[in-house]
């Protein structure tokens, strides 16, 4: 068998080098993309998890509250509990650095405690910075910067770093390092009391890390310790915290993996089409081998091995390319592929044998799967018949399977109604796959029906093409399915991204109504405006109205990440991009507007009660409506600023939106605000700037998606060109006869082009329809379930039309070029050969 295998089967791969190379390349691309996504994300996740581990240190439990923190008296109360061996209080702050376009994570810690629970945050005093009594770590004016922070900020022990504290700037001395923070982690630590005083957080901490005494049941201790904590403060295991954070990016990661999988499936399909055509062409040769005594199983095995070899070679190439792509991605876009999930994480590339092995197997599987149907078909052929010329036409007949097609599409519809599994829209992805399968199954029926419609056409070429497509719609499947799949996916992504971008654009308009935005620290925690500052801004000439905004995070339960609290004047909700039904809130109750993510994650509906933990106390609100929020995937709740202030007594604000009075000058007002607040402490932006920045971030997020989409279309076109090349070779005899009958070479070229064109038109039309259906699934199911946001359908009509025309033209061109190549053979040889 091995000699047969080598000389007959594997040698056949070498004979059709172009087709083999293209399918190998397609599999390699699929493997490379999938593996790269896998490597990048697992490296980023590992690094992210390592970071969280590092910061959690040896903590068995973490007491976590809102971003603005909770009462630090809880520390003493918890630390003396019997279950607790050691406790370490943490005040975590995202501190804005004036004059730099970034913030720094500063941990206020108790240097006497931190080593017992999370040694990674232990500050190390630089030798020269040691004071005579060695109390440096307790000094209020010093900061210890991790090696990464020192490198990124360009500071060293002995130097100073300006930080924004409220609306002021404080200068801290760098007294040493945080060696435990490891390489790529930019952070700094300082004394917790000093941090509280400096950043206006007296009496508040954000976290307590607890190490339990040995032999204590962690879950029991967790429940016991959680009892009696203020509202909105939870006790979690570090693992739960990590899982919740990692869960945030999971949907995004699955999304990219799915795109990579599509590339791989397309690769497998390409193996199918080339293998199919190769078997068609070698039908008589294979029949002859059977006649010589090659048994069915050996024949099947040989053909499968051909596919497996292509898959293996493609897989190996893909592993190499995948690692290269990953290395490049780390350099260029970072560990989250530009989506912003793992900011501040700098993972390093390493060889991942497990993922590589898995993707190599997937590559082989794609090759085998592609070779399966043709091999089975060859196995079942009757050698005596197959020896006769013309029998290969059988293979192209393809039975129409309207019931299976309808079943696929119907099932896809049903799957769309099912909920996600573990916040992954598994059924949505399945529905997408079924729509694609259904579309491919519909293709031959569509082609045949269309061919019958064209009965009135005149010229012989039309007649021939029509007859060919009507009688052998299988050819359309082989050549056109790639077009359908890649056009459908590209169209789906285009519609989805266009809808998304359009919705984000309109959303930005809705959430940015003011003329000027003054931010103490963009979503950071160290900057804020005191009430007096707010009053002074409001009193500036040219200001008609100000809307202060207070941000915090709230833990609504211990199973989800905290949601963002936005307290600002909302004018009864009219200043929010509301969607869906609203509810009337009685005047004696406080209204809250929740984002769509809150609806999905916490199952609250308009009209229902919602208890928010404000300042450690549960405060009852009534859900007045649902608003669309593209900024916070974990959910956001908006309440009236007055309600917030009444419940908390907290009068400061993070941002303030300023409305210009009639006739006031924007520039003068901006200058006045700058004079009032100082050049470096506040950021002033116009809605236009914020919007441009947001859309730039949006585009960067989808950059990788665009790239993968382009790859899918490219592979689809590969499919068209290899299919037509192989088809042209398989049909050489037919073309030879036509030449005898008096068709010129050019006419035969035109015939091939025409067939390609018709296939491409049918495939593209079907792809457009299927793509729109897939887009609907992506928008209504996949996005909604993955990211919990809705969007309005927006069809980029002109772009889609242009795209469709380009694909058709390219497909026709690919058919023509590959057909022409096949036509170089002499017509004489073609008819005389009696394989």
């Amino acid at each position: 068998m091995s000699a047969v295998l080598r000389r007959i089967f594997l040698a056949s791969l070498a004979r059709r080098r172009l087709a083999t190379a293209l399918s190998l390349f397609a599999i390699a691309l699929g493997v490379a993309l999938g593996l790269a996504v896998q490597i990048i994300h697992s490296a980023a996740l590992d690094e992210f998890g390592r970071g969280m581990h590092l910061l959690a240190g040896e903590a068995d439990l973490q007491v976590i509250g809102p971003r603005e923190g909770f009462d630090d008296a809880e520390y003493g109360r918890l630390a003396i509990r019997d279950e607790v061996a050691d406790a370490s209080p943490v005040l975590e702050l995202d501190v804005r650095l004036p004059g730099r376009d970034r913030s720094l994570r500063i941990f206020g810690i108790d240097a006497l405690r931190v080593a017992h629970v999370n040694p990674a945050l232990m500050p190390l005093v630089a030798e020269a910075q040691r004071d005579e009594r060695d109390l440096t770590v307790l000094r209020p004016d010093v900061l210890f910067a991790s090696p990464a922070a020192q490198a990124e900020l360009g500071v060293a022990p002995g130097g100073r770093l300006d930080v924004q504290a409220g609306a002021q700037v404080a200068s801290l001395r760098i007294a040493g390092s945080v060696p435990g923070a490891g390489q790529g982690r930019a952070l700094a630590v300082m004394d917790i009391a000093a941090a509280q005083a400096l950043f206006g957080r007296l009496g508040r901490i954000t976290r307590i890390d607890l190490r339990l005494k040995s032999g204590i049941d962690i879950e029991a201790a967790r429940r016991a310790l959680a009892a009696g904590l203020p509202a909105g403060v939870e006790v979690l295991t570090p693992q739960a915290t990590e899982d919740q954070s990692a869960g945030l990016s999971r949907a995004y990661r699955v999304n990219l993996t799915m795109l990579a999988a599509i590339a791989l499936v397309t690769g497998g399909f390409l193996v199918f089409s080339t293998q199919f055509l190769s078997v068609a062409r070698r039908r008589q040769e294979l029949a002859f081998l059977r006649a010589l005594g090659l048994d069915r199983r050996a024949l099947m095995r040989g053909l499968l091995v051909e596919g497996a070899v292509v898959g293996l070679a493609g897989g190996l190439l893909g592993i190499a390319v995948g690692h290269g792509v990953a290395a490049l991605a780390f350099d260029v876009v970072g560990g989250d592929l530009g989506a912003g999930y793992f900011r501040g994480v700098a993972p390093a590339l390493r060889f991942d044998p497990q993922a590589s092995g898995a993707y190599l197997l997937l590559g082989v599987a794609a090759g085998l799967a592609g070779a399966w149907l043709p091999a089975r078909d060859a196995q079942r052929m009757l050698p005596a018949r197959a020896l006769k010329s013309g029998d290969e036409a059988h293979m192209f007949r393809f039975r129409a399977r309207p019931r299976i097609a309808a079943g696929c599409l119907g099932l896809a519809f049903v799957l769309c109604l099912l909920p996600p599994v573990g916040s992954i829209p598994v059924f949505g992805y399945l529905a997408v796959a079924l729509i694609l399968v259904g579309a491919v199954l519909v293709l031959p029926m569509l082609v045949r029906a269309a061919a019958h419609r064209w009965a009135g056409s005149r010229t012989v070429l039309w007649q021939l093409a029509r007859a060919r497509l009507a009688a052998a719609p299988g050819q359309a499947v082989v050549a056109g399915a790639g077009v359908v799949a890649s056009v459908a996916l590209a169209v789906a992504m285009a519609i989805m991204v266009a809808s998304f971008r359009d919705s984000v654009d309109r959303w930005l308009t809705a959430v940015l109504p003011a003329d000027l935005y003054v931010s103490a620290a963009s979503q950071g925690t160290s900057g804020f405006f005191a009430p007096e500052t707010l009053q002074r801004i409001a009193a500036l000439p040219g200001v008609s109205r100000t809307m202060p905004v207070r941000f915090d995070t709230l833990r609504l339960d211990d199973r989800h990440l905290p949601v963002t609290l936005i307290a600002r004047p909302l004018d009864g909700g009219s200043r929010l991009p509301l969607v869906g039904a609203t509810a009337q809130v009685p005047t004696d109750e406080k209204p809250a507007w929740v984002s769509e993510a809150v609806v999905d994650l916490f199952a609250v509906r308009p009209g229902e009660r919602l208890v928010l933990p404000l300042a450690g106390k549960p405060v009852a609100f009534r859900v007045a409506g649902v608003w669309r929020d593209y900024a916070r995937q974990q959910g956001a709740v908006a309440i009236e600023l007055d309600d917030y202030r009444a419940a908390t007594g907290d009068l400061v604000a993070n941002d303030v939106a300023v409305f210009l009075a009639e006739g006031a000058s924007f520039n003068e007002l901006a200058a006045a605000v700058r004079r009032l607040l100082g050049e470096s402490t506040a950021r002033i932006a116009t809605p236009g700037e914020i919007r441009a920045l947001s859309l730039a971030i949006f585009d960067r997020t989808f950059l990788v998606t665009y790239v993968m989409e382009a790859v899918a279309v490219l592979i689809g076109l590969f499919g068209v060109s290899t299919s037509f090349a192989a088809l042209a070779i398989a049909r050489r005899k037919e073309f030879g006869v036509l030449r005898h009958l008096g068709l010129t070479r050019r006419e035969i070229g035109r015939l091939i082009t025409l067939e390609g064109l018709l296939t491409a038109v049918a495939g593209t039309a079907l792809g457009l329809v299927a793509g729109t259906a897939v887009a609907l699934v992506l928008i209504e199911v996949v996005n909604r379930q993955s990211f919990h946001w809705s969007m309005d359908l927006h069809l980029p009509g002109v772009a889609l039309l242009a795209f469709a025309l380009i694909v058709i033209a390219l497909a026709a061109f690919a058919a023509r070029v590959s057909g022409y190549q096949a036509m170089r053979d002499s017509a004489v040889l073609a008819v005389r050969e009696d394989w």
């Binding site: 029998d391 005149r458 007649q463 021939l464 037919e734 006869v737 005898h740 009958l741 010129t744 005389r832």
Partner: protein, 225 residues
Amino acid sequence: MFEIDGLKKRFGTEAARPLFEGVSLQLRRGECVAIMGESGVGKSTLLNCMAGLEPADGGSIRLDGTELVGLDDDAFARLRRRSYGFVFQAFHILPHLSVLQNVALPMWLLDEHGIEADRRARAMLERVGLADRAAGWPRELSGGELQRVAIARALVHRPALVLADEPTGNLDPDRAAGVLDLLLEGIRRDGAMGILVTHSRTAASRADRVLRLSAGGLHPEAART
């Protein structure tokens, strides 16, 4: 009138020994000749040269007085579709066209569509005895039937010249005789000219003349034994 005069064909360089040279032939309307010869002597090549599918290296070919040597590829293709008919050993019926469409194909090539093409194709099928299979598909036919379809296709557009390369080579002797009769009868009836390349003496004997091809030219076959 189909005339060949001093036709020469060589493979490879000028220096190479010609495959054949000095081939001359004159054929009148309604006449059929059979060409025989050893394997490899160039019978099929000669046929291809006549059809313009391979260029000749010297001599002349005239159909009804028009010189064909030197015609470009496309011109020869147009000539073939109007004036030539082909019958192959391996039939070469297009599998994705119905029987009727296969026969009508040459008419389509001459921009004859619709009823007239259909009528002519059906009439041809009737002549070869396959009227009832018009709507069928080639895969449903036996070898002999396929060759009869091929004959119908070769004659449907009333070509001046029908070239047949071993038309009975793939058929058993019983069927071969019937098929050959159909072909020759069709050629004579339409006043066309037929050139039959064959190994089979039986087949050749049905032609009006039998010629033998050698490197030196076409010569009448020696008297039968």
